[in-house]
Symmetry: C2
Subunit: 432 residues, 2 copies
């Protein structure tokens, strides 16, 4: 008998097939048993009638516990009432392993801590499955976007010397005889080297922040995509970002209406995510926020609350541009039109989600960059190779980083980004 995946069942109507999977639920009505089956590719209902399957199978079926692994053989029937349009008339059931214990994740509501502690099992539920399918598609959409744009993927290192944005949030790793290495919180500086070699480059990998932040927007380990382009200013940068975000949203909408429905995501706001996105100068944003009662002063970085308020004024993602120099990292290029600000932009996702991208034009003038490194009292000797990039063929260049899980939280309309990664890491969790 042919073994088939539930996802492919539609091409086997009225044929006998074998499904290998798990029993995620069972309901019985006298001698009629409704087996809810899943195999990772999809879900289907198997209907087993005791008179048809015979007493041995009937007994086996009655003894099944949730999440038993089973091979179920039977005939595929078209059934308009079934959510997928198909049903399986069960001929027999082969039990691979039937749990001794009751499955810990039942229908009842569980607290988030319990679910996270059982993440290895929780992944089997329909909500995480929908999320992981969307995550998979979004990642492929990101990669295909850059592939088709002629970017070269450059995987930047995780283990790095003392170089990066802010030393206070670095994880430390004892490293042989070299002292301490740090887990990279950005690959940007490496991408700047690579973009001087290959023009247009990106990375996409895990990123680490030892921040003691316990908010719905923070993980200690998350995935980030960074892109860097030579001979590009921050205007080019924003145009690249909006095309990229729009491509990813389009890919998710095209392939995952069903999964978005499982996540109870209203897709109306997503349909509006079309190029170009809105743009707002930082100064104007501060005024708008003050008018709404925020205590923000010119010079402050936008807080999470400010971002939420601001994004609710926009239907589409909005770029906030030209932040004060003192609120941003040392490598951002001074704005010639106003040297108190830098040529940068944060992209805020709508509906209150806030920052998903931080980007800027980079300081390409050696003397200015060096002055900023000294101003910030960064360890100059660690930046030797980075300064080389301004000595040998420096060019205007720009880039950005987008947080994958924050982007997914917005696209999927979920509250906390810990739902958007298979095994979330927070300051209080490294298990399972």
């Amino acid at each position: 008998m042919e073994r088939v995946l539930i996802a492919d069942i539609g091409s086997h109507v009225d044929r006998d097939v074998e499904i290998r999977g798990w029993l995620y639920n069972i309901r019985s009505k006298g001698k009629l048993h409704f087996l809810q089956l899943r195999d990772g590719s999809g879900r289907i209902q198997g209907v087993a009638e005791e008179n048809t399957v015979g007493p041995a199978y009937a007994e086996a079926i009655r003894g099944l516990k949730m999440e038993a692994s089973v091979k179920v053989r039977g005939r595929v029937r078209r059934d308009e009432r079934a959510p997928t349009g198909f049903e399986l008339t069960v001929a027999d059931v082969e039990v691979v392993q039937n749990p001794d214990l009751d499955y810990p994740i039942a229908k009842k509501e569980h607290g988030i801590d319990f679910l996270l502690e059982n993440r290895h099992l929780w992944l089997r539920s329909s909500r995480p499955h929908a999320m992981m399918r969307i995550r998979d598609t979004a990642i492929m959409a990101f990669r295909l976007f850059f592939h088709e744009e002629g970017f070269l993927l450059i995987d930047t290192p995780i283990l790095t010397g003392s170089i990066g944005e802010s030393a206070g949030t670095l994880f430390e790793v004892p490293y042989f005889d070299l002292g301490t290495a740090y887990l990279a919180q950005t690959g940007q500086l490496y991408l700047e080297a690579a973009c001087a070699a290959y023009g247009r480059v990106y990375n996409f990998g895990p990123t680490f922040r030892a921040e003691k932040s316990k908010t719905r927007r923070h993980l200690t380990e998350f995935w980030m995509l960074e892109a860097e382009v030579a001979y590009a200013d921050n205007e080019d940068n924003m145009r690249l970002q909006e095309r990229m975000v729009s491509a990813v949203v389009t890919a998710v909408l095209a392939g995952h209406r069903d999964d978005l429905a499982v996540l109870e995501r209203d897709t109306t706001p997503l349909e509006k995510v079309t190029v170009p996105f809105d743009r707002q100068d930082y100064g104007d944003a501060v005024k708008a926020l003050q008018a709404k009662g925020s205590a923000i002063q010119w010079g402050d970085d936008l807080g999470g609350e400010d971002e939420t308020v601001l994004t609710k004024m926009h239907e589409r993602p909005v770029f906030v541009t030209n932040y004060p120099k003192k609120a941003k990292a040392f490598y951002m290029k001074e704005n010639p039109a106003n040297p108190d600000t830098v040529l940068c932009s944060d992209l805020l996702a709508p509906e209150g989600y806030g920052e998903i991208i931080g980007g800027s034009q980079r300081e390409d003038v050696l003397e200015k960059l060096l002055a900023r490194i000294r101003e910030e009292k960064l360890p100059e000797e660690s930046y030797g190779w980075y300064l080389d990039l301004r000595k040998f063929g420096s060019v205007p260049h720009s880039g950005y980083g987008i947080g994958l899980e924050r982007t997914l939280a917005w696209i999927c309309g979920v509250q906390h980004i810990r739902e958007c990664i298979p095994f979330p890491r927070t300051i209080s969790r490294i298990y399972p």
Copy 2:
């Protein structure tokens, strides 16, 4: 004037264009200057005649140092003698930044330590460029293979509790109030959880080994792809692996003849990489090695030298199957036909390259797995969630891990895997 990429120059013949890039070399013959230009997308020669460009440009050109960043404007000419088939007749040159210093990487041969110390600049050379282009294609080929096969990408965590293969080679990371976290040296256990949820899964990310090995096959940070399939035995596993490897080799051959030529790779052996690959039982391999003079005894793992000898007996990659249990990890499934061995296979790349994949069927019987964990004196309490997978719907399942850089070293025919990653990390290097 239209700005074009060198890669697209063929569609601009006899038109005036602007190229933005770098001068990687210059040669002069009296008043004739040959500018070797690169922009990351390709390379082209610009010919500047002093009488044509005028005295100001001529002076600028004469003053250019290697790796100066320049915008060069001129007319595209078809030229059969040029390596790319095109040449640029230079009209003018705009210098973006001309180095004060001589570029450190000259034509002369440099030692590997010097090149690694200047990896941020070395990346600009033709050999690393060829390698990074092939790496980009190989990574996309891996991902598209699994995408098209219906696998779900599951990014497994890097920061983990005390769980993994061998505690002796783990990097340690102080982790808030939770004590010590470790950098994952495999995501396999997590993928096993995910494959019980989604059937067919893979990951692809950086992996860490704190091994004090200073060989041409070792990096402390490298990229690994792992796949895990439910309801699959090790025979299915090997079939998946050979199709995957063959798909990647095919993609590289299809797109990178020119880059393989830069790397001086004879592609004849690669043409022979067709499915099915050879298979050899471990016991037979030991006998064959002994006949060649190796000191290996039944029960030993294959050393690097043994692998080299063995692969030279095969034209194609070869699976060595059913290793002794004591030489392999605790999670591999006992071979019912010979309980001293396990259902596993290592895939050795030909031409002396050796192991690129380690795979096995996993022990799916709770009692046997538990016995192995106790035999190996592993911390049982850390494996609670992993043991759950054998309690709730355990199924036969198999998987493997393939090292990206080792695979690239073989495909590209390079000696040392440090060439196969943008910024290599070894026990003595985390700079740049």
